[in-house]
C-alpha cells in the first residue's frame, strides 16, 4: 500500500486535538468562574500572595519560546536546517526554564505550608482552599502539558536531524508548533486569572 500524504488532513487532525485540549481546560475555567464568583474576596486576597514578577517573567519566557518555534518552521521551509534546530533547542531550553521557575514557585508555597490538604491552608478559610486548589491543579496540568510539549519537540528535532522533516515535508514540525502555541495560549489566560486579578 502506497502511503498517500495529506498534510491538510494531519493539520486538521491536530487542530481537532487542540480543541479537545481547549475543552479540557475549559472545564477548569468553568470551575474557576463559579468558585471565583462565590468567593470573590478570598480569591482577591489570595491572588496577591502570588509573585507577579515571577509570573510575568514566565509569561514572557513562554511568549519568546512560541516565537522561536514559529520561526523554526520558517527556517526549515527556507532549507536552513541548522537554524531550525537551533531555534527548536532554544524553545526546549525556554520550556525548561519555565518549569524551573514553576518548581521554585511551588516550592516556596509548599514551604509556607500552603498546599492542598495542609491544615495551615484549611485554617485560612474555604476561599483560600479553593483558590490554591485550583492554582495547583491548573498550573500543574499546564506544566504537564509543557512536559509533553517538550518531549514532542525533542522527537521532532530528532526527525529533523534524520532529514525526515525537510523543506517540503514539515507538517509534523508545524503540528508540534501548534501544540506549543496552545500551551502558550492557555498560559495567557492562566496568568491574569491567578496573578493579576487582585
Amino acid at each position: 500500500m502506497e502511503e498517500h500524504r495529506d498534510d491538510l488532513a494531519s493539520k486538521t487532525g491536530m487542530w481537532l486535538f487542540l480543541f479537545t485540549e481547549m475543552l479540557l481546560f475549559g472545564g477548569l475555567f468553568v470551575v474557576y468562574s463559579v468558585y471565583r464568583y462565590i468567593n470573590a474576596d478570598a480569591f482577591h486576597l489570595a491572588a496577591q500572595e502570588l509573585s507577579v514578577p515571577v509570573g510575568t517573567i514566565n509569561t514572557i519566557i513562554l511568549l519568546i519560546s512560541s516565537a522561536t518555534i514559529a520561526m523554526s518552521v520558517t527556517a526549515i521551509r527556507k532549507n536552513n536546517k541548522k537554524l531550525s534546530l537551533l531555534l527548536l533547542g532554544f524553545t526546549i531550553l525556554l520550556g525548561l526554564v519555565f518549569l524551573g521557575n514553576k518548581y521554585f514557585e511551588w516550592g516556596h508555597h509548599i514551604k509556607e505550608n500552603i498546599y492542598p490538604g495542609s491544615p495551615v491552608l484549611a485554617s485560612r478559610g474555604q476561599g483560600d482552599v479553593l483558590f490554591y486548589g485550583l492554582y495547583y491543579f491548573m498550573t500543574g496540568l499546564h506544566a504537564l502539558h509543557i512536559i509533553i510539549g517538550l518531549v514532542f519537540i525533542g522527537f521532532i528535532a530528532r526527525l529533523i536531524i534524520k532529514d525526515r522533516i525537510v523543506s517540503d515535508n514539515y507538517v509534523l514540525l508545524e503540528n508540534s508548533g501548534l501544540y506549543w502555541h496552545l500551551v502558550d495560549l492557555i498560559w495567557i489566560f492562566l496568568f491574569p486569572l491567578f496573578y493579576l486579578i487582585t
Binding site: L23, G26, I64, T74, R77, T198
Partner: protein, 94 residues
Amino acid sequence: MEHEKDHIIPYRTFLYVLAGLIVLTLISVTVTKIHLGTLTVFIALLIAAVKSTFVLRIFMHLKFENRMFTIMVIAVILLIGVVIFITLLDYLYR
C-alpha cells in the same frame, strides 16, 4: 494543493508580534496595579483576548489557513463561553 497561498512567513513578522505580545503583557501587569475595581478583571481578560488573537492568527497561522479553521476555533471558544454562561445562570440566581 493549497501551495499558492501557502507563503512562508518571514522571521521579522514573528519578532514584531513577539514584541507586541510582551508590551501587552507589561501593560496588563501595570494596569492591574491601578485600582479599577471590577474593571480590572475586564481589562485583564480583554488584553488576554487580544494576545490570544495574535497567537492564533500569526503564530498558529490561522490568518493564512483555510477559513474553516478560523470558524471552528471561534465556535469552540464560543462554546466554552456559553457553557460557562449557562453554568453561571445557576449560581448567579441561586
